[in-house]
Symmetry: C2
Subunit: 287 residues, 2 copies
């Protein structure tokens, strides 16, 4: 008895006719007919009532079908479990306080292994640290190294915040700005920026923020809106636009170094990803 035969039984039961079942199974009717007959021979019982050009499940066929469905359902669970394991093995779960360093990490990993999946989650620093320690993420990105006996950290990305000023705006011809000068202005901001959101709230207490949670929609709005926005020097950040001018913000709070951290007992794939970031960081320092 073979799983394929049970699948054929179930398919014939579903389709009602052998030709339709053969079609769905990518099989010739003759092959399907013989295969089902082999199953009947092995069980010692007819499973179908046949006329010369039709067939229908009989009592015993329905009993066999019941068992077959149970077996196939269990097989499906087995396959699903292993599909999930395979996906999990290719997935690097990243808890990051900001999106740009996750994008950077994703770029580094994908360049070396295009089948990998980087799954970022923008969270608070405490949450990032917590997830790394309790194993619900593989790598954490925070604004400070996580210095513990069971962790290692490396600098991943230096990000500088710019005010993104539209044409005709009063601040358009400035070469630099401070949060103090920007406070009170209205801003269009992308929602999933984590750490930077805290900075905005703290440094621009009198400003109003129009928040767009969808990155794609946000980028479209940047083109048409005449509100101030923010952008950064992160290479994956595409919010720059020719109609806008990016003016550096000079406050210390407008600059952040994001650190990548992993557990020293991480599996090889995670260690490899961390090593990529580490090597890149060293290359940056040398250059």
């Amino acid at each position: 008895m073979e799983l394929e035969q049970l699948r054929q039984l179930a398919t014939v039961a579903d389709e009602g006719t052998m030709q339709a079942a053969a079609m769905r199974l990518h099989l010739s009717p003759s092959a399907l007919s013989r295969s089902l007959r082999r199953l009947e021979d092995e069980l010692g019982q007819q499973l179908f009532d046949r006329t010369k050009n039709s067939m229908r499940l009989n009592e015993r066929g329905r009993l066999a079908l019941e068992h077959a469905r149970a077996i196939l359902a269990e097989e499906r669970r087995l396959r699903d479990d292993f599909a999930a394991i395979a996906k999990r093995a290719r997935t690097i779960r990243v808890a990051s306080v900001a999106p740009a360093p996750a994008w950077r990490l994703s770029a580094l990993v994908l360049a070396q292994n295009p089948t990998a999946i980087v799954e970022p989650d923008i969270v608070s620093p405490e949450e990032a640290r917590g997830r790394l320690l309790n194993g619900t993420c593989d790598l954490a990105v925070t604004t400070d190294p996580i210095a513990l006996p069971i962790t290692r950290s490396t600098a991943l990305l230096h990000e500088d915040l710019y005010a993104n000023v539209p044409e005709g705006h009063a601040l358009r011809d400035r070469d630099s700005l401070t949060f103090g000068e920007l406070d009170g202005q209205s801003f269009l901001v992308y929602g999933g920026i984590g750490y930077w959101h805290e900075i905005h709230e703290r440094m621009l207490p009198h400003s109003h923020f129009v928040t767009q949670p969808d990155r794609i929609v946000f980028l479209q709005q940047v083109r048409t809106s005449d509100l101030l926005t923010f952008t950064t020097n992160a290479p994956e950040n595409t919010s720059a636009h020719e109609s806008r001018k990016a003016i550096p913000i000079t406050d210390a709070e407008a600059h952040a170094t994001f650190w990548l951290s992993m557990r020293t007992d991480a599996p090889a794939t995670i260690q490899a990803a961390f090593a990529l970031a580490e090597a890149e960081s060293e290359r940056q320092q040398d250059g």
Copy 2:
């Protein structure tokens, strides 16, 4: 994925080593090794931690094994169900008021189909009739025909009761006997005689009966005991013994005709068995 591969997985898990498993599976180690590797390839995951000359299930292997066992258990249930169905199809359940007619029927059926199984049950006439009507038996044997629209009956066997007298017994030289003459004597009787038990009780109210429920033991006891016993002219009755003399009993109650009855809606195999008895009965009448 094939059921055989899951069976191999389970066997390797049970045996611990591949060579032992291959032995049990009647397979060469090389074939088993390749087959399991194919399974691993299909699932995209190693199921075993291997060194060059050893292997052991790993975490994922144990998960797969769990599913495999569930699948194989369900397959076992499927096979068991169909084995039971196959056995049932070859089985003729007979509810008979006496053993000899069941033996006769069994002989008739087996002569024509050696794979058949006749499953006799000695019951009361009411029970035999009831079972035939409610479908818990296929054929009924009673001392009278069951004359209903949905039944047919045929004579199966005429049985005559004999007193089986040991050497040296006072009645040894008689040519015939009556129940009246036998009443008060002690008898060794076989337990599973159904109808005849009623006759004994009724016709020999003052006799004592030593009852042996096991047929084999009874036949051995007949040889050594000097108690009176009964025997009949049924051809399958082997309780005759050279040291004993079978003396016919002349009362009408010592003669019985057993009738075989079936339902007219019985399946073909049952109809065939009934027809055998019917043909035999007609042959007896002609001869």
